[in-house]
């Protein structure tokens, strides 16, 4: 990484370039002469495949959002009826608020935990790489396997209640996953557990781009720990924050596998999210039109938050 005394601009740039010389390819390239390298038609197979699998399929699905199609047989075009039904249905509105709660809750807690661990591991620790590996382990597990493990931990006969009994808090034991008030918090714990390691490595990479000299200089000038973090470290890792939170929100809004394996949306819809509702409507309840309409709403929400998130955390608007 290039050592620099201007953390606001240059150091923020350094981790983005991954340590390569920041010669922007776009600037050295002769403009206006069309393609210099490779043939344009090399891109055709990729564009065609993405177009077919993402846009054509989604477009057809989007069309059915305005119909009463059941998934097979004939259908009628019903206009906005499916969307009106969504905003009148308390289950769907509950799913919407659960989705937002889980997405923002897991991003917030996962990133704070990831950042604190990354800061803790940042310098001079002897075993930092072993610790990093350990904290990262949950990230490589399948959401399904993760959910089964936690399902047992929260089981009535499981370790959490056994632990509470052992420390003399036996009156606090409950069937966590079957408790309408607590079920959503158990889902949140699982999401945070499996995403913390991911946020941690992004922050560690960002922190590695902050030169030790700058921090030292700030410390010599009398900045305390918080001031050093706020004014030196944080500006330098802004790109890392932007990436980690944007990805976390997009992932969090479409969360599906862990919920299906943990609670299947229960008890009584307490952990229902938009993604589980889309699946149930379209695939289990034979209401493909309604499911498609809900998926369209979900897509719009994801798009809106992804754009807002990018705008808020972007450090360099020209990029």
């Amino acid at each position: 990484m290039t050592a620099t005394m201007q953390p606001e601009s240059e150091a923020a740039e350094a981790p983005r370039r991954g340590g390569r010389t920041p010669v922007a390819g776009q600037k050295t390239r002769p403009r206006g002469r069309g393609l210099e390298f490779g043939h344009w038609w090399w891109a055709l197979p990729g564009i065609a495949l993405v177009f077919a699998i993402h846009y054509v399929a989604t477009g057809i699905g989007g069309f059915f959002a305005f119909t009463n199609w059941t998934g097979i047989g004939a259908f009628k075009i019903t206009g906005w009826a499916n969307f009106e039904a969504i905003f009148k249905d308390p289950t769907k509105l509950g799913a919407l608020s659960n989705t937002l709660f889980l997405a923002f809750g897991s991003v917030l807690l996962g990133n704070i935990a990831g950042l604190l661990i990354a800061l803790g591991l940042n310098r001079v620790l002897k075993t930092r790489y072993i610790l990093r590996t350990l904290f990262f382990m949950p990230v490589v597990l399948s959401p399904l396997a993760t959910a089964y493990i936690w399902k047992y931990i929260f089981d009535f006969d499981g370790p959490l209640n056994a632990f509470l009994t052992a420390i003399g808090a036996g009156d606090q034991t409950k069937p966590w996953l079957a408790d309408p008030q607590w079920a959503i918090w158990t889902v949140l714990v699982v999401l945070v557990w499996s995403s913390t390691g991911f946020a941690m490595v992004i922050f560690m990479a960002g922190l590695a781009g902050v030169p030790a000299e700058v921090e030292e200089a700030a410390a010599i000038d009398g900045a305390n720990l918080w001031q050093r973090f706020r004014n030196v470290t944080l500006p330098a890792i802004r790109p890392a924050v932007a990436i980690a939170t944007t990805l976390g929100i997009v992932q969090g809004l479409r969360v599906f596998d862990p919920i299906m394996a943990l609670t299947a949306g229960g008890p009584a819809g307490a952990t229902e999210t938009l993604a589980t509702q889309v699946y149930k409507q379209a695939f289990a309840l034979g209401n493909f039109g309604g499911g498609a309409a809900l998926a369209l709403v979900l897509a719009a929400i994801i798009l809106i938050f992804a754009v807002i998130q990018q705008r808020l955390t972007r450090s360099n608007p020209e990029d």
Binding site: G46, H54, G120, L134, A145, I202
Partner: protein
């Protein structure tokens, strides 16, 4: 100034305590899987087994039909490897062309891929399934490879394109002057330079495809030819609160990916953090 002090030691010990707490689920996973049936409800959930028993694992490895884990393992390896190859081949070429082109359409194509990353898959799932069935792609490893390649291609192209944006064109210019053709430049000069991006794509796509459950559940449609997560799902579907048996198959299903991660953890973590900087 950043020397190893007593405070650092305290920080190190504290983080180890936190790490052990963080990984406690793995403790329950292993101890429970080793418990024989009669200990499952008689011993505390916190205690290790009195007489460890491997019969749960033998049951898992010898299961037949749609929960055959050996078939599942082979299918998962074939499908994951095939998808990775497809994503590297198509992703590298497409990412290269759209990031090096100065024409207007290349910017449009870039956004086409960017938006495709965000679209939720469920909306297209039913039309996709009907299309795949019409083309005879359901129920086979080939179909899933094509499908996963298409589904993850936007991400792969995005990672490659971002990589090229930070890379100068000097090598390609030099090769052009030396008289290399466009395809020679790509295969001999550009592709080897992309190794870090290829590593990131391999790890990301490999992890997503290997762990994916929903797509293979739908597109392999109930046959005995399943991927590992689906085999696990069917196996567990027949068990109620038999946590020792459930955890035996959970362990069997996670051992390959966990072993690969611990073996190549540096590359894994570099791939993750390196690919996401742009």
């Amino acid at each position: 100034m950043f020397r190893y002090t007593k405070l650092t030691l305290l920080r190190e010990v504290g983080l180890w305590a936190l790490a052990l707490l963080f990984l406690a689920p793995f403790y329950f996973l292993v101890t429970t899987a080793l418990k024989p049936d009669n200990e499952l409800f008689t011993t505390s959930a916190l205690a290790p087994p009195k007489s460890p028993d491997f019969s749960n694992f033998i049951d898992v490895l010898t299961a037949t039909g749609n929960s055959n884990v050996v078939t599942g393992l082979i299918n998962s390896v074939i499908i994951t490897a095939g998808s990775i190859l497809g994503l590297i081949a198509l992703g590298s070429v497409t990412g290269y062309v759209i990031s090096r082109s100065t024409r207007r359409w290349s910017k449009g194509a870039y956004y086409l891929f960017l938006v495709a990353i965000i679209l939720p898959g469920q909306l297209g799932a039913v039309p996709l399934y009907m299309g795949a069935r019409a083309l005879g792609l359901t129920g086979s490893a080939w179909g899933l490879i094509v499908l996963y390649t298409g589904m993850l291609l936007p991400l792969s192209i995005f990672l490659y394109a971002n990589f090229f944006r930070g890379l100068g064109t000097e090598y390609e210019e030099a090769a052009t002057i030396d008289g290399a053709s466009k395809s020679q430049i790509f295969s001999k000069v550009v592709f080897p330079m992309m190794a870090p991006a290829t590593g990131t794509v391999t790890i990301f796509a490999g992890l997503i495809v290997w762990n994916d459950f929903f797509t293979s559940l739908i597109f392999l449609g109930g046959s005995d030819n399943q991927t590992l997560p689906v085999a696990m799902y069917y196996y567990i579907g027949s068990l109620v609160s038999q946590w020792n048996s459930i955890f035996a198959i959970v362990i069997v299903s996670m051992v390959p990916i966990l072993a690969l991660f611990l073996f190549a953890q540096k590359r894994f973590i570099q791939g993750f953090s390196g690919g996401l900087k742009g």
